[in-house]
Structures are given as C-alpha cells and as structure tokens.
Assembly symmetry: C2
Homo-oligomer: 261 residues x 2
DNA sequence: CGTTTGCTTGAAGTAGGTCAATGTGAGTGG
DNA sequence: CCACTCACATTGACCTACTTCAAGCAAACG
C-alpha cells in the first residue's frame, strides 16, 4: 500500500488495518475539504447539530465542559491524526465543546458519507465502532484516575497517558515531549487548581522526577511513575479479528489485517 | 412490530429504531443462550479475552477498576436491558472487571456474530456505533462530575443520572427508585469515602431533600438538584438519521428512519 | 514600552479523609 | 427461642491535602 494518501482518515485508519484500494478511494472521495483552524477557535459548540466525524490532520484539540460559574474542564485531548466526533455521533446535538488547543487543520468526513460507509464498506463500519471503543477505555482510565488518585497521582497519570499516546502516534518517541497547555489548563484536565499543579510540578522538578523546558517536558523517572500509577498502556492493541472481510475482495493480502506500527 | 421477541438485544435496540423482520430474526438467531448470574459473580475479569457483546436481560451489573492497594472503583452501572461489552470490543483483552451487582441474566451475542452483522445488516452496525457513542457521552458527564464538583454535587449528580436512566428504561418512573448499592459502593462510584457518603445522605434526609427506605430512595427536591448540578438528560435522543437504510428492504413502515442529510 | 498572560510562592482556611467506636438488622447454628 | 456472626450504617474527634486569597515576577505581545 502506498504511503502517501491525501486523505487523513485513510492514514489514520491504516494504523489499525491495511485498507483495500476500494476502501481508500471511497474515503478519500468523501473527504475533499481541509479546514485550517487557529488556536482557541471553536470546532464544535454546545448544542451544535452533529455534523459527522472529523479527522484532526494537524494540531491539537480538546473537549471542554463549561459550567455556569465560568469554570471549565478538559475531558479529552485530541492529538494530530485522531478521529474527532465519534462520541457525539449518536446524539443529535453536541453536549460538550471542542476547540483547537493549537493551530491545526481539520478534515471533515461529512455525515452523508456515513450511510454508504456502513452499507458498502462494512469493515470500515466495524473499524469506527472499534475506534470509539478504544476512546471509551481511555476515558474510563481517566475517570478512574480522577476518582481514586491523589493530586500527584492524577498529574503523573495524565502526563504518562499523554506521552504514551504521543508515542503511538509517533510524535514524541522518548521521555521528552511537548505539552502545549498552560498550568491552568493542566489543572482543568486533571481536576486541580492551577496553583497546586504548579506546586506539584516544581516538586517533581526538585526531586529530579522531571525536567521542564516549556513547552517541553521530560519524564526522568517514567518507570517509577508507571509503577506508582499502575499505568497500563491501553492504546497499543486494537483487536480487529472480529471484523468482517473487506468488500472489494481482491484485498492484496488482506487475510491477516493487522499492520505493524 | 410485535412486542414479544425472545431476544434481549432486539428489544433493546428497538428502543432506538424499529427493526425489520430480517434484522430481528438475524439477531435472535445469534443469541440463543441465557446465562443466569448470581450477585457478586464476575462477568468479565481483567485480562479476559474479549468475547463479543452481551445484553443484560435482567439485574444490574457494574464495571469496576481495582487497584493493588485493594481499593476499587465503580466506573459504570449497567441497568437491565443495556448492552455490555461495547467498550471492550476494540481491545483484545479486558482492562476492567465487570460483575453482577444483583442476581440477573446475561445474553451473550457471540463474537462470531459481529462480522455478519456488519456485512449483512449495516444499519445494525451503525446502531452499535451509536450506542457506544451514547455510552461515551454519559461517561464524559461522569468524569466531568468527578473532576469539578464538590462531594455533595457528585453524589447528587450520580443519583440524578441513575434516576434519569431508570426512567428511560421504564424501571422507575417518578422520583422514587431503587439503588441496590451499599454506601461503600456508592462511595466507590462517586469517588468518596463511604463515611462521607453517609454524612451527606443523612444531611440530605435532614434537610428534606430526600427520603431513604432501603433499598429505595426518593428525591424530594429533584428540580432544585438538577439546577445545582446543571444536569442535562443526555439519554433521551439518539440521532439515527445518518444510519444506512435497512437491508431486507420491505421495512414494514420504517422508511422514515433512514434518511441521509 | 505598557498590558496581558502565565508562572511562582506564601499564608490561611476548609472540605473531606482517616481512625475508632458503637449500633443494627439479617442470617445461621444451636 | 437465643447467641454469634457478619455486613452495613452511623457518629464523633482529629488531621491533612487541597483550595482560596493575595502578591510579586517573567515573558510574550500589541
């Protein structure tokens, strides 16, 4: 399979199964537009009619929940290449806000493309269900950390999860990676005040657990942290063995689907 | 459509779209078994190979996360009629435990049934994606409450959400409903100590906000609570308008369901 | 440059946790 | 029938991990 597809969704989904040419061209066909979005700009606003799914071609985005007292919370971070909007596809209106965390580019896969996707390319339908399921597992881990860890644990866990996902996406490979969030935003993500986040970070630096060169961080005691948090990397393996066979049949060697990362 | 299908999954999914006879009989065919399970028995253990999805025909179940220090946390409550296992379908191994909260009956829909479901009944595939998406929204709300509310808010929110879901399932209709959880378990669900849960509950009773007749509760100031928590009922509307048309064509009066934008 | 946005640090207060003891009803065996 | 568990609810006294408030800086930016 060629490496250079113009479609973001193709390259994203190819991480999980090797797509047939039919599947690739169908997706690429549906996805003509690229919308650049500036940092801070809304992608989805609360109450918006659901518009299908999107791929974040570049840049970072976040899902925020705002409460009337002005506080807001970060529920999900989208990294470059990830599929956005799968969580809202089942409801007619969005209940959370999505906004760009950095400048970036969004590729919408229009709502009208979903019906033919499920009808004509059933394996892609299964793939969307599976991607949504991985999202849900990650969210469970996050909720679990919010509900049961102390402040240091939450912060460690969030950083570890971020690092791990960046590694899967081949964006940051070692223990050093970018965190394009202010301390206020980190606080919103882990459920702490920015000032306590600050104190924890300084404590981590002082104890030699991490280095900070904004906007980069380096986790010096990652193994130790992963033990502390009982961190398990849930992003590596997608199980595709239950998928239906690809339509279009002459799947150039598609019997075993999984593609090495 | 007839009311009495032997299949649990049929009756569950019929809440969202009216299934064609083809769809119904396919599902019913796949789902022959009923497994009774006693309270406290495991349904899925951590590390189990994913076995497809299941419908909880009767009884309640919970998803738990255990940590090595012996604490565990309740991440999700399954009510009678709900689909379990959608979150784990994308991974090869389960990362959380599922156990019966009360006696009940489980109907497995085997893994092998999923491929033909997506291939031959694309609308059902879309439906599974949508159900997973609603699950994810609910989980986001839960995570949001864990991360941003004070103890009283978390507890109120959890009770409101439970009530609301029971109402959708037609199990409890008013402000009075069953809560088959000990105070320890409630604490595990909302991220608080059982003893603080106790103090809050007693405070609620004393202030006339609720009544407790174990295992029933009655929320006397529900409207007020829903305002406090900015509670929105996210379980009512599934958007099915993007679904592909049903296969089998002669959809007895269900044509209105599948219309692309 | 002045303004804003974000980082840093200290002092004080409190929500909620921990520890410990007592009470209570539902089994269960005698 | 009582006695003995056992699991759960209840309540108080104490403690600390976090928040709130307040102030001073540094860096980015018009």
């Amino acid at each position: 399979m060629s490496e250079e597809y113009q479609s973001c969704l193709v390259s994203r989904l190819s991480r999980f199964v090797s797509l047939t040419d039919h599947e690739c061209s169908f997706i690429a066909d549906m996805e003509k537009d690229e919308h650049p979005r500036k940092k801070g700009r809304p992608v989805v606003s609360v109450g918006d009619k659901t518009e299908g799914i999107m791929v974040l071609k570049s840049g970072w985005a976040v899902v925020k929940a705002d409460s009337s007292d002005g506080r807001s919370q970060i529920l999900r971070v989208y990294l470059p290449g990830e599929v956005m909007g799968l969580a809202e596809i089942g409801s007619s209106h969005a209940s959370h806000r999505v906004m760009m965390q950095t400048d970036g580019v969004i590729c919408p896969f229009p709502r009208g493309g979903l019906a033919p996707l499920y009808s004509d390319y059933p394996r892609l339908g299964a793939l969307l269900t599976a991607v949504g399921s991985l999202d849900q597992i990650a969210l469970r881990h996050h909720a679990s950390s919010l509900g049961s860890m102390d402040a240091a644990g939450k912060l460690k866990f969030w950083l570890l999860q971020l690092r791990s996902r960046l590694e899967v996406a081949n964006i940051g490979l070692g223990n050093r990676f970018q965190v394009p969030f202010s301390q206020v935003e980190v606080g919103q993500a882990v459920g702490l005040t920015s000032i306590y986040v600050n104190k924890l970070l300084r404590r981590f630096v002082e104890s030699g657990d991490m280095e900070i060169e904004r906007p980069y961080v380096r986790l010096l005691k990652r193994d130790e942290w992963e033990k502390d948090c009982e961190f398990v990397n849930a992003f590596v393996d997608m199980d595709t063995s239950w998928f239906p066979p690809a339509i279009g049949a002459e799947t150039t060697g598609s019997a075993d689907l999984a593609k090495p990362a």
